[in-house]
């Protein structure tokens, strides 16, 4: 079984005016390719911190994180950017689309930092917009879309660089139940197409879509429960 990510004894501490906040106190986790993990746990337990580390937005203060053969903990800032550009797709609770760009332009942004915008890539952006059901909204700006539509645009954007990983921090947190269903259906479909998904959520309903539920408490792994094999 090929591993998408392996973390060992991962630690993250924040130093705040003399006080040390230990957001993660040693978490180990193996994520095989094609897995679909839901991370759950009470507020402040370190879910977002873990996801940010997995997404190479930050470096751990202890332990190691192998994304493929390389230890992320030792990489330069530029190298982390390259990994984010080529291997990771983010989906955020608050969508995080760039307001002044159209849907199509938003989807194109990651390509821009990979330095490969050509007509084929642009065609691919259109197809992705079609895939998430926004084929007729390409020229609209985020403010002209509903929350569900914005999140679908964000998912299309996370797919554009054909990432190994899709990381989603409470992707349905701002959505009603119907729209939540649509978004989860989209993620299910991506996972069936063998994308590895790691998703933070508070809701059991949502977590049920995953193959595996990991629970955090006070920066430690509390439980790791697999429901479906990859």
């Amino acid at each position: 079984m090929q591993l998408a990510a392996r973390i060992q004894d991962l630690k993250k501490e924040y130093h705040l005016s003399g006080e040390v906040v230990r957001a993660l106190r040693g978490v180990s986790l193996d994520v095989p390719e094609g897995d679909y993990v839901a991370i759950m746990g009470p507020s402040g337990s370190g879910k977002s911190t873990l996801l940010n580390l997995l997404g190479c937005l930050d470096r751990p203060t202890g332990g190691s994180y192998y994304l493929g053969p390389d230890d992320v903990a030792r990489m330069s800032d530029d190298r982390l950017s390259e990994i984010r550009a080529s291997r990771i797709g983010f989906v955020f609770q608050s969508y995080n689309l760039i307001q002044q760009l159209t849907v199509l332009e938003n989807i194109e942004v990651p390509l821009y930092y990979q330095g490969r915008i050509d007509s084929r890539a642009q065609q691919r952006c259109r197809e992705l917009a079609q895939l998430v059901g926004l084929g007729d909204r390409l020229r609209h700006r985020p403010a002209q879309l509903s929350g569900g539509q914005q999140q679908r645009a964000a998912i299309a954007r996370s797919l554009v660089n054909d990432p190994r990983f899709i990381l989603a921090d409470e992707p349905t947190g701002n959505l009603d139940s119907v729209t939540t269903g649509e978004i989860l259906a989209l993620l299910d479909r991506l996972n069936r197409d063998f994308k590895t998904i790691i998703m933070v959520t508070h809701e059991d309903e949502v977590a049920r879509h995953a193959r595996r539920i990991v629970r955090l408490r006070d920066g430690l792994l509390q439980s790791d429960e697999r429901m479906r094999e990859v």
Partner: protein, 442 residues
């Protein structure tokens, strides 16, 4: 990086700037004013110094001019009546005989007089001079001839009118062959001159020479008919002066011996004049002074312009800092999607470069219209406030800006440089943001 990406970076920058058109416009205006002022100030400075240079050149670079100066009143206190002062015919002979580098010397005697023809009266200067005078002071004859050698020898009562005097005394007639009255004497008009630009005012010792209200007669005639003692009626009382020569223009044989000759002249005069009643003017020296002044002027104008560009640069920095703060969230998103620090720096730097290039380019255009703009300004002022214009110094009233070639690439280059320098800090601040913090920013 492909050319498509580069193009996109620029388009993105321009789009972002157009999101706040008024803000961008005001920032551009700051740079525009800076650049235009560089070009304008240098053009005006160049115009003024060029004019000064031409006026000095009008005196003749190979000339040395010696003038009689009325000594201060204290020197003559207690003595009744006018006291002789100034250059003498003896000075003239001495200078010509003892200094071999002097090619020739032109004696001049000037008196303020009233000229009369029929009902027409003109106040002006009666200039006694020699035939060479026309050539040395670059006077050209419009009709008739200038004073001739035979007329000088024979002390003929003839005169040559400046263009302006001729126009005013003879509005409807040809002055040649007519006789004008100067006090008791009568002079036959034998020539009329072309109009001539005034020469430079030469510091304390020489007033600017106007030439407009001059009437020229042979100096021998002046000595014979009027003499050295001249009395002028002035506001009821008589004022007298006893002067042999008002001015001596010495022509030096070679240009590079002008300065040493001038020293000799000064020494010779000092030996025979106990009071300070002569002044020596060396146009060549003035020319060199004018060049130094011009350099100072350029430096000074450059300083003012640099300050205004600095202000424009601070404007850019201010706007970019605000923009970076406003777009913190966008920066976080871009970083999360794979932007390197250098990508973020480049993105914001492109925006400042667009601002400063647009400001610089329009500023250069604004600078190029300097000449017509100054003309228009002068025209409008003359229409609306003629009194105010008359009170302005002459240089300012008549200056023609001359655009200095190198000022345009310089101003443009500096404006772009200012954009980069002042844009760099905000751009680097944007790039240094922690992506997670930036994403959390509201």
């Amino acid at each position: 990086m492909g050319s498509g990406i580069v193009l996109r970076t620029w388009i993105l920058g321009i789009k972002s700037l157009l999101l706040h058109p008024l803000r961008s416009l005001l920032t551009v205006l700051g740079i525009f004013i800076g650049v235009a002022s560089v070009v304008w100030l240098l053009a005006i400075g160049e115009g003024i110094s060029k004019k000064a240079q031409e006026q000095i050149e009008g005196l003749g670079a190979d000339n040395i001019i010696v003038r009689s100066i009325k000594p201060p009143n204290e020197a003559t206190v207690g003595i009744r009546g006018p006291v002789p002062y100034g250059l003498t015919r003896a000075d003239y002979d001495r200078l010509v005989e003892t200094i071999p580098t002097i090619e020739r010397a032109l004696p001049v005697r000037e008196i303020r007089r009233q000229f009369k023809y029929g009902d027409h009266l003109v106040d002006g200067r009666l200039v006694g001079c020699t035939p060479d005078y026309a050539q040395v002071t670059q006077l050209s004859v419009y009709s008739g001839h200038f004073i001739s050698e035979p007329e000088l020898k024979s002390k003929a009562p003839v005169c040559v009118l400046s263009h302006e005097v001729a126009r005013r005394l003879f509005p409807y007639e040809d002055p040649l062959g007519r006789t004008i009255n100067v006090e008791e004497q009568k002079y036959l008009v034998v020539g009329v001159l072309e109009p001539k630009n005034p020469t430079a005012g030469i510091g304390g010792s020489l007033a600017a020479q106007d030439f407009a209200d001059d009437v020229y007669i042979p100096i021998t005639t002046l000595w014979a008919l009027i003499g050295d003692s001249v009395f002028t009626r002035r506001s009821g009382s008589f004022e007298g002066e006893i002067v042999e020569l008002s001015q001596l223009t010495l022509r030096v044989k070679e240009l590079d011996r002008v300065l040493e000759t001038a020293d000799l002249v000064k020494a010779t005069l000092a030996a025979h004049h106990r009071q300070q009643d002569t002044g020596v003017v060396v146009p060549l020296e003035l020319l060199e002074q004018a060049r130094t002044t011009r350099l100072m002027f350029i430096l000074f104008m450059g300083l003012i312009a640099a300050i205004s560009l600095l202000v424009g640069g601070i404007g850019i920095m201010n706007i970019m800092l605000a923009t970076v703060t406003e777009r913190t969230r966008e920066i976080g998103i871009r970083r999360a999607l794979g932007a390197k620090r250098s990508d973020i720096t480049r993105q914001f730097l492109v925006e400042t470069i667009v601002l400063s290039v647009v400001g610089g380019a329009t500023g250069v255009l604004g600078g190029l219209i300097c000449r017509p703009a100054v003309a228009l300004l002068r025209w409008t002022l003359e229409r609306t406030a003629p009194g105010a214009v008359e009170n302005l110094p002459e240089v300012i009233r008549t200056v023609e800006p001359i655009i200095v070639g190198w000022s345009i690439p310089l101003a443009f280059g500096i404006s772009v440089g200012v954009g980069v320098v002042f844009g760099l800090y905000p751009a680097m601040r944007a790039a240094a943001m922690d992506p997670i913090e930036a994403l959390r920013h509201e």
